[in-house]
Amino acid sequence: MMDAEELYQMLKKSQEPKGYYFNKDLERVFDLMAALLFNKERYGYMGCPCRLVSGDKENDRDIICPCVYRTPDVEEYGSCYCNLYVSKEWNEEKIPHAYVPERRPPEKILL
């Protein structure tokens, strides 16, 4: 079982070269790492900690972290919906830390 530090290091290595940086608020980042591991344990996949995960992996493919909305959100707001992945400019406070609205269609929320 991977721990939060291992997950952090693994993702940092794979995501930073793509231009997605972890929020400089590491307390928040590690809290989200733990939440992702918790979701992996309870659902079997790393569903977004900031969204209502259904437990149906096929349905939730769009919100398996990193979610499909990360690209447009980082492009438009400099941050993903969770404030986990951000751009360099966001971390350097060169752009405002605006609220990132939910892009996921509500129909995707399965009951």
């Binding site: 989200l32 209502l52 969770c82 509500p106 009951l111």
Partner: protein, 84 residues
């Protein structure tokens, strides 16, 4: 400060939800909350329907302060609604 009822629809894992709860606690505001991810079956379905009435996107946190609905952890809007 008027004592408006405060209700937070949240997720147990969500960073914005945690920040909201922490902020309300720091403001010594009494609030009710429900972590929707910890519910299942009919209970979850009923609460999701409630959330959708306030916030059709059904995103979290959805914060109800009196008759005001705030979607997301927006400190300024929360303060204003609370009259802080």
């Amino acid at each position: 400060m008027a004592n408006k009822p405060v209700k937070v629809y949240s997720l147990s894992t969500c960073s914005h939800c945690k920040a909201t709860k922490k902020f309300l606690a720091e403001c010594t505001v009494k609030y009710d909350f429900v972590d929707v991810d910890t519910l299942d079956g009919e209970e979850r379905a009923a609460i999701v329907e409630d959330v959708k009435k306030f916030n059709p996107k059904c995103s979290f946190p959805t914060i109800i302060i009196g008759d005001k609905v705030i979607v997301g952890y927006k400190e300024d809007e929360i303060k204003e609604a609370l009259g802080l």
